[in-house]
């Protein structure tokens, strides 16, 4: 632990402290995995309950799941296009659902009740590892999508409409995952910090607006991440009409 030079109340928020797990000689952030397992468990439970008895006249949770499915399908279809969206629907949908339940889980589940030796539980998306992992998966996906659909012609995309675009397109390949991961990470972490600081300074009522705003931001961030991922894949599989 780093000794803190200032003894402000903020200092007790334990920013950037990790609950380390040792796996061989690998360091893992235990709190990220623990909270991600909780939210994944909740998500899977919801899915299992909702799909246990599928009917043509949907009832109960099936309604919610079908709404989500249609919502994600429309998102993917709009961004990727009619031809290729089916292959990528599960990936985009998983990103959306996982980020959404992570964000909301981080805001709604009272993690503070559980004491960890070091660090604290929170939204898994407030850890840079999670967001970078997903952003890199998105990068791999759109490369794979472009290469598998168009072969080496995919690289024509880099010189379209003019070869002047080449350096910018190459830079884009780096900025895309960077912006994806940092946007999500920054938003969720900042939200947690704002709520944490407000709750620490004034424990009643005052943090509530920030919490609601946080829920709103969380949902929007999940949507943005999924939409951008779909958009990148759509760009990669897009056929130019000569």
């Amino acid at each position: 632990m780093v000794p803190l030079p200032l003894h402000l109340p903020f200092a007790e928020l334990e920013v950037g402290q990790q609950f380390y797990w040792q796996l061989g000689n690998l360091h893992l952030h235990g709190q990220v995995f623990l909270s991600s397992w909780v939210v994944i468990g909740a998500l899977l439970a919801l899915v299992v309950v909702g799909t246990r008895k599928m009917e043509r006249d949907p009832r109960g949770v099936q309604n919610l799941l079908e709404f989500l499915w249609v919502y994600i399908r429309d998102l993917a279809r709009e961004q990727i296009g009619e031809k290729a969206y089916r292959d990528w629907l599960p990936f985009i949908g998983t990103l959306f659902l996982f980020i959404f339940v992570c964000n909301w889980g981080g805001a709604l589940i009272p993690w503070k009740v559980i004491e960890l030796p070091n660090g604290e539980l929170g939204a898994p998306t407030a850890d840079i590892n999670t967001t970078v992992a997903m952003a890199l998966l998105v990068s791999l996906s759109y490369f794979y999508a472009g290469l598998s659909r168009k072969g080496l012609r995919y690289f024509e995309y880099y010189v379209e409409p003019t070869p002047i675009m080449l350096p910018f397109k190459i830079i884009e390949d780096f900025t895309k995952p960077l912006s994806l991961s940092f946007r999500l990470f920054g938003n969720i972490l900042a939200d947690e910090l704002v709520v944490g600081v407000l709750a620490f300074l004034v424990p009643v009522i005052v943090p509530l607006p920030a919490m609601f705003l946080g829920l709103f931001t969380s949902a929007i961030q999940a949507l943005i991440f999924a939409t951008l991922a779909a958009n990148y894949i759509g760009e990669a599989v897009h056929e130019e009409h000569h």
């Binding site: 632990m1 780093v2 803190l4 030079p5 995995f33 799909t51 996982f98 898994p124 840079i128 590892n129």
Partner: protein
């Protein structure tokens, strides 16, 4: 603020905000696994259900449209038939009226002819009887004349 910046810098060794380690690949693997699981448990079955329903609704709609068209065709057919039947009935009535008229005229003509014939016959009979009566009168008067002549002659 200083403390956070320090913490962020300190991440290189232990902890910190930008502490990238083996969590990253494992989280990526976890997300991929979650994608596979959700694909099997959520996206495929729910997608099948939704699309089956969409198909069902589409076919039902097409079916209903076809049935509606059929019903409309039948209705037009029946209306046509009804119109024809009405025309036929009208025609029948007209024909019957004409028939009745004709019969009436025929009956009237026959009755008139009959009456004429009877009257003619009666007239002829009357004439014949008158002729006969005249003839018998003239014969009688002839005879009486002759008788008177005879008597007068005899008296002389």
């Amino acid at each position: 603020m200083t403390s956070w910046l320090l913490l962020a810098e300190a991440g290189a060794q232990e902890g910190g905000l930008f502490d990238l380690d083996a969590t990253l690949p494992l989280m990526a693997v976890q997300v991929v696994l979650l994608t596979l699981i959700l694909n099997a448990l959520f996206f495929r079955p729910v997608g099948r259900a939704v699309e089956e329903r969409e198909g069902y609704i589409a076919t039902s709609r097409a079916d209903a449209k076809q049935k509606l068209a059929q019903a409309q065709r039948l209705e037009a057919d029946l209306t046509e038939q009804l119109k024809e039947a009405r025309q036929q009935a009208q025609q029948l009535i007209v024909e019957a009226e004409q028939e009745v008229d004709k019969l009436y005229r025929e009956a009237l003509a026959a009755a008139q002819a009959d009456a004429n014939a009877t009257r003619e016959q009666a007239r002829r009979e009357i004439e014949a009887q008158r002729d006969q009566a005249l003839a018998s009168l003239s014969a009688e008067s002839d005879r009486l004349g002759a008788l008177i002549v005879d008597r007068l002659l005899a008296a002389k």
